[in-house]
Symmetry: C2
Subunit: 392 residues, 2 copies
């Protein structure tokens, strides 16, 4: 069967080596990786099967990770991973949604095969795909093992992107630009909100003439009128009125690498006060971006941004950014660094963030944002959409 | 702010009452509901915010659920739930992705306010949005409480749909039909796989001229050629060849109610052997459907289906169906009944299933399926797409 691998084998090997180095530092013998982006990062695996139990089992004493998934999905594992067939294991279907069998007993069986009955075992305690029951079942199945929380161990390594990853991020940025262009193009009074959303989704999946896109790790946020005061509300069937505000966030994807980008569209001429509000938001965003360089902390970037807002009497306490990279539902955010007050993470070249400087005040809101990569000299915008309030 | 509620208040009240009745039976005082479909079912809440901690706290002694979410998402709660403002609580942003604060301490605070320090507390141990860490944090914050697993308590209640829910399922079925039609229409040699996918997504979100659609709780499965042997592989950028098999599964949505539907397209004339294979698959599907009626068990339906396959020398061990209804990523399946051998769940009018009779053999595969509702007299198809192999 033809393999689909988006990176050189050497790059996968370097990723696994970095994880093993960190495991060794922490004395972890075996690491049960459950987060889908981490599975993709370490093995290449890409299929929509994470709603059933699956894990990459990384053992210091075993060269390759062992990928364990539902039996029917081992075909996808053979196509999308570099792993030897023996390192791909299928869980029989009777373990799925069973009231008597636990797929984590099957996982524990692989751990035992690796001699891990008394091992120090890392698990991703705060992951989306490591439920309270998964943990309870594993602890029951491996009573002599010592479980430790290794949540975010892989995520922190993923924070700095390689050149190959950056090229996919740039492609994802192209898709995000095309999505914003499509939204601005189609948003007119009388057009149903769902039809604006549909056009944006079409662009997301179609991508560009050179390369295709992929499904979202979140959903399009398309917040119209009153609902623009809420950051994550859903679209409706209603036609757009003659005058309103639309805040929207699109997600461009390439080989699961995701770039987020938000803009605001004013349908009808905005009031002078709103126009001024947009200028303040853009000034603050630009100040934040200009402050980005290696050696600075996330907190310092937040400071440069919030200083501008403060000068205009606006306070924002929420974080103004998060890292993106490989994304699977429900979220692309890497759960590591945050661009916010007090975050001492030091910026390094190759880190990619969405500077999400949305402002949601009591009576007005705006979402003009910028995804960027940290470079040697400062930052590189990952999209080219102008940082303006679009008026239609 | 204008409310968006898709059901009468009485229907929400009946749902909460049913949950409280079951809680009382099990001696549960307070139920911490974390699964997004269950939050939607009990409160109406609909926004893409489940990637951060949120819960509906249902207490026997408190009339309405208390909905706790990130502060910025309380606006969406005010728009999409019937809850009194005092029953909507915002978690301050410093709890998000914090290394020092846990949002579950905030949840525990609400439990204490309800007098629940020593309560019997139900949690959804096997839920997608109840991580091992969430549980550990809650147990630490409420050391005198008695935690019990109440996973699927709401899901089992959701299994039987009301008339109002069934009407949304029928609308979701219309969207699914339109999606299949669009796929069959656009799939031609030379068209990029991603462009077929894009057209299907466009239809999913646009819906019909009468009503709009919504985002997927999963993703389009579009499995071409060799990848058709894998159930959940992703599309590529490649143009469709002159002759190939496409297995695809679409998801029609209406107000978060989701109907799944699969078909197979043969690009180019299928071989006589493949044509025969498709006829067997359809014969088995029809036998399964005809066996559906109230009083029968899921296992009996599986038996009617697999008997036909066995007669043709094909064995299928995987379950052939799962219930659908309210869906949020990563999955619509309700994790309760399964149409499979040994499942003793008795069918009742109002239950909705996707009879997912995909066959993935070593060298050929086909996915012709049927979503249906159980009725007094048998079943009602939720879609009208003919059960045939499409040939282009």
């Amino acid at each position: 069967m033809e393999k689909i691998l988006n990176f050189e084998r050497a790059e996968f090997d370097a990723r696994v080596a970095a994880v093993k180095t960190e495991m060794a530092k922490r004395g972890i013998d075996i690491f049960l990786v459950s987060e889908p982006p981490n599975l993709n990062y370490l093995t290449g695996y890409n299929a929509y099967s994470f709603y059933t139990p699956q894990m990459a089992i990384v053992a210091l004493k075993h060269a390759e990770p062992i990928f364990v998934t539902r039996f029917m999905d081992t075909t996808s594992a053979k196509i999308t991973t570099y792993l030897a067939d023996d390192n791909i294991r299928g869980i029989p279907d009777e373990y799925m949604n069973s009231t008597t069998l636990s797929a984590y007993d099957f996982m524990a069986g692989v751990v035992k095969e690796l001699g891990g009955e008394k091992a120090k075992i890392g698990v991703e305690m705060g992951g989306y795909y490591y439920s309270a029951r998964a943990h309870a079942d594993l602890v029951r199945a491996l009573p002599l093992a010592n479980f430790v929380d290794a949540d975010l161990l892989v995520n922190w390594i993923r924070l700095v992107k390689s050149q190959a990853e950056l090229s996919f991020m740039r492609q994802a940025g192209c898709v995000a630009d095309a999505m914003v262009e499509r939204a601005v193009d189609i948003a007119e009074p009388g057009v149903r909100e769902c039809d604006v959303a549909a056009a944006v989704y079409h662009q997301q999946i179609s991508g560009t003439p050179e390369f295709g896109g992929s499904y979202d790790s979140s959903c399009l946020h398309l917040c119209v009128g009153e609902r623009a005061l809420a950051p994550h509300s859903a679209w409706t069937d209603k036609p757009l009125p003659a005058s309103t505000i639309i805040n929207f966030e699109v997600h461009g994807l390439r080989h699961r690498y995701q770039v987020n980008l938000s803009r605001t569209i004013s349908i009808g001429k905005p009031s002078p006060a709103y126009q001024k509000f947009s200028e303040i938001a853009i000034e603050a965003l630009n100040a934040g971006l200009e402050s980005v360089r290696p050696g600075r902390t996330c907190s310092e970037v937040f400071g440069a941004f919030s200083q501008v807002l403060a000068r205009h009497g606006i306070q924002k306490n929420e974080r103004i950014g998060y890292p993106t990279g490989i994304g699977y539902p429900p979220s692309v955010a890497e759960r590591t660094a945050s661009l916010r007050k007090g975050d001492k993470t030091v910026l390094q070249p190759g880190m990619c963030f969405h500077m999400m400087t949305g402002l949601w005040l009591d009576d007005r809101s705006i979402t003009i944002t910028q995804p960027f990569a940290v470079t040697e000299g400062g930052h590189e915008d990952l999209t080219t959409t102008p940082r303006i309030l679009f008026v239609k």
